[in-house]
């Protein structure tokens, strides 16, 4: 059976999945879609965020965790959103234009959009929401994404103009319904109930509104009858459960206790795909997995040693052993979900024991050097780390060994660069700069391990100013070539993003970003 190079999915599954996703996407939003899919009205969808036990706030501007956003996107819209093919399309803005100098965005808003409390969404609310995330008193990490904005002006009740200090290509993505905090909230409701109250009982324009939030357990949503997309939502409500154990999610969906889950454990995907009652969707995910190294200290401050490491690991074997084939080797930081900037393979990221040994010989590091590679949990993270250590030890004669820590402690050490090496990664981000500038620019928000190269900085800055997607992709590849050759991170793999649902769920289009709540409006049960 042949497998797609890009997705690692066999041809038949790929065609089936893409055909279903494509059909759902193209028809979404129209009466035709309901006819085509034979969708029914009513019922409550029992969905689950799998692998999560925390939703910390429902205030978009203060939200930070992926789970926060995947839950609150049930209730909110932004100016623009991503469709099933990850193209930016209108959401609360009917259309928009960008000035010739690329520094002024004019958004024309939809008219008659109602908030959950019945108030109309206008330019005032847009300005209030976006100014709020720029407010230095709020102190949320996402604020940095909006620092190029110099002014948000209300042109009229339904027109907003956003000005930036210089051309900044990532802005439109940051203004979307993705995890950045650009969702539009009701200024009036916020003024009435205050920040603390709003965080628990938010008022948005989304297809569903909050009914109950049982912290650490579940969120209960009911349909917003005045939702602006005509005829939607089809459901009466959504119960969004937090299920920390992925295995429990499987027994829940097999037993019919939930209808839809945000992910599926890699090891169980083949079995679930054969189940006649379950549909598993898979797309190349927005994630990257790598070994981060402390580049400021020996042995990882030696570029030859890092190059030796990169060629000593056999990535396809890791993909098979850790992901059960549900992913692909990674030859850079940019995941396959950004095909216009993605590079499938590089020599430096290809298993080559002879070249690896030659690079080691050029380095100051001797075989037998001991290194602790931090990881956490007992699942695939640990397995992945064990395999990487075994491969490095076998090819280069090193003494690498895994050190299992709690996730919180491991992340603290990664962030503070208080480690030798750590297997980790990023997930759920959709903007190129979040995989490039934020990780490898000298002043990148998540450049924790001391990588710095002025040439890379210059290319990244140029990519931020470039609005032509193809040219931006070329710039990204140039920067990534240097980063990969210098092995700033030891890139390992990019996993597929899955969701699983009962056959009665119709109209759900899985996004590579795994954003869940935003996909509920066209969903029906039967």
């Amino acid at each position: 059976m042949t497998k797609s190079d890009l997705t690692g999915i066999d041809r038949r599954s790929f065609l089936r999945t893409t055909a279903a996703a494509g059909a759902a996407t193209v028809l979404t939003g129209s009466m035709l879609s309901r006819v085509a899919l034979g969708q029914q009205r009513g019922g409550t969808l029992r969905a689950a965020l799998l692998g999560f036990n925390v939703v910390n706030t429902l205030d978009p501007q203060k939200a930070i965790l992926n789970s926060d956003f995947w839950a609150l996107s049930t209730m909110f819209n932004a100016l623009v959103k991503f469709d099933g093919q990850m193209k930016i399309v209108p959401d609360l803005a009917e259309n928009w234009s960008i000035s010739p100098d690329l520094t002024t965005y004019t958004f024309n808003l939809r008219k008659g959009v109602k908030f959950h409390d019945g108030g109309e969404m206008t330019a005032e609310d847009v300005k209030f929401s976006l100014d709020r995330i720029r407010n230095p008193d709020i102190k949320v990490p996402n604020q940095k994404k909006f620092e190029k904005i110099t002014a948000i002006d209300i042109v009229n009740k339904y027109t907003v103009r956003i000005k930036t200090s210089e051309p900044f290509a990532p802005l439109l993505t940051f203004l979307s319904s993705m995890p950045t905090g650009a969702q539009i909230i009701s200024k009036t409701a916020f003024g009435k109930i205050g920040e603390e109250g709003f965080a628990k009982n938010p008022v948005g324009t989304g297809a569903f509104k909050i009914k109950e939030w049982r912290a650490n357990e579940k969120l209960v949503f009911v349909a917003h009858k005045d939702y602006f997309e005509k005829g939607m939502p089809y459901l009466d409500g959504v119960d969004l459960l937090l299920i920390a154990e992925e295995t429990s999610g499987i027994t829940a969906i097999l037993g019919g206790q939930i209808d839809l889950a945000s992910t599926a454990p890699f090891a169980d995907v083949p079995k679930l795909e054969k189940d006649p009652n379950i549909t598993v969707t898979k797309v190349p995910g927005f994630n990257n997995r790598f070994m981060a190294m402390n580049l400021t200290k020996p042995p990882f401050n030696d570029v030859n040693f890092r190059r030796a490491l990169s060629m000593s690991i056999e990535r396809p074997a890791i993909v098979e052993a850790v992901l059960f084939g549900e992913g692909r080797p990674l030859a850079g930081a940019i995941p396959a979900a950004l095909p216009w900037a993605y590079t499938k393979s590089r020599d430096i990221c290809t298993f080559n024991p002879e070249r690896a040994k030659a690079e080691l010989a050029k380095s100051s590091v001797k075989p037998g050097t001991e290194v602790k590679v931090i990881t956490w949990g007992s699942g695939w993270w640990k397995r992945w780390t064990e395999i990487v250590c075994a491969q490095v030890n076998q090819v280069l004669g090193m003494k690498f060994s895994p050190e299992v820590l709690e996730a919180n402690v491991a992340f603290q050490k990664f962030r503070a660069n208080d480690m030798e090496a750590q297997n980790t990664g990023w997930i759920g981000r959709v903007e190129l700069d979040e995989y490039l500038g934020e990780l490898f620019h000298s002043k990148g928000a998540r450049n924790f391990n001391g990588y710095s190269n002025p040439k890379v900085d210059t290319i990244i800055e140029a990519s931020r100013r470039e609005f032509d997607q193809a040219k931006r992709g070329d710039l990204a590849r140039q920067a990534e070539d240097i980063i990969a050759e210098e092995v700033a991170l030891l890139f390992c793999f990019n996993a597929n993003a899955h969701s699983m649902m009962s056959k009665k769920v119709k109209g759900f289009v899985a996004l590579p970003s795994q954003s869940l709540g935003s996909q509920f409006p066209p969903v029906s049960l039967g």
């Binding site: 036990n53 930070i64 603390e196 912290a215 650490n216 027994t251 097999l254 206790q257 919180n408």
Partner: protein, 317 residues
């Protein structure tokens, strides 16, 4: 008077244990590596946002000051708000949601364990050395030996996925539907009960056999009392004391030790709340859970001791 004094001493000891225990938990949590700011602020946390978080929640104060503030509020009944696990929810609300669930499932599991163990333990002792004894003892060993997570999945596979008699996931609280709680809680209660029932049955069997060999039992038999009368009044009543003590000790397991079962069956109980809070470094929630556990364990121990004292009046002398 003696009994009253006994009660005063026990209550005083319990209070001192709670204060010392709460301080130790506070200290250990704060000294452990990890940071609640990172749980809340995630991967894009900056030095400024972390500092602001620590200031907002008083984490920049010395530990002793933080403890004093916490204790002062706790004495007034204010356990504070969650800082990392549940978006500033009042902890009393979290406990209010979780504690009844834990108590219900705990009592449910305990009741099943008691029914099984009292029956199996008594039969095994009465039929000592016979087939019934071997069967009951073997089942008890099996109950003790099966890991609870494994048993949970076996029960789900058998009774939720193959026969679909029970739900495979999720729990209806007694407040939502009283009888629904018994139905949805049956498999997890059985998974909780199995190892306990095994231990209880073996303790009861051993205790019954030992008591049955006592001289006063032989004396009672020599008086010509009927066998059932001797068993109930001479053997069972005396043999039940170590049994009650062991049952009391299991309460700790029921409160915090059933996290895996809570996770597998989707029960939002105290155990998983405390574990989630500990991993997320939500200090006030951990503190409140620990305090609740401590309070309940001490109360149950007190009740067990009083029950034993009533069963065996010599204990208060």
């Amino acid at each position: 008077m003696n009994f009253l004094w006994y009660l005063v001493v026990r209550l005083g000891g319990a209070l001192a244990t709670i204060i010392v225990g709460s301080f130790l938990i506070f200290l250990i949590m704060q000294l452990a590596p990890g940071d609640p700011a990172l749980t809340v602020l995630g991967d894009a946390a900056t030095t400024e946002t972390i500092a602001a978080f620590r200031e907002e929640h008083g984490l920049d104060q010395p530990i002793i000051v933080q403890y004093a503030i916490w204790l002062e509020k706790a004495i007034q009944g204010d356990l504070g708000n969650s800082i990392a696990l549940a978006g500033k929810f009042p902890i009393s609300e979290l406990l209010g949601n979780r504690l009844p669930v834990t108590i219900f499932i705990g009592i449910y599991g305990l009741a099943i364990a008691l029914v099984i163990s009292l029956t199996a333990g008594t039969i095994a002792a009465l039929r000592h050395g016979k087939l019934a004894d071997t069967v009951a003892t073997s089942i008890a060993v099996l109950g003790i030996s099966m890991p609870d997570f494994w048993l949970s999945y076996v029960l789900i596979l058998a009774f939720a996925l193959s026969f679909t008699w029970f739900p495979s996931y999720g729990f209806t609280t007694p407040a939502q539907d009283f009888f629904g709680a018994f139905y949805s809680g049956f498999l997890p209660a059985l998974a909780i009960a199995a190892p306990m029932a095994g231990v209880f049955a073996r303790i009861l069997r051993a205790s019954l056999l030992e008591t049955a060999r006592k001289e006063y039992v032989t004396a009672a038999r020599s008086f010509g009392f009927a066998a059932p009368f001797v068993f109930m009044h001479y053997v069972f009543r005396n043999a039940i004391i170590p049994f009650v003590t062991v049952v009391g000790l299991q309460v700790r397991y029921l409160l915090g030790g059933v996290v895996i079962i809570e996770r597998i069956f989707g029960i939002s109980g105290m155990g998983s709340l405390m574990v989630d809070a500990a991993f997320g470094r939500d200090y006030p929630v951990v503190q409140a859970c620990a305090l609740t556990f401590l309070g309940i364990v001490l109360t149950v121990n007190l009740v067990v001791d009083i029950a034993c004292a009533m069963l065996d009046p010599r204990r208060t002398h």
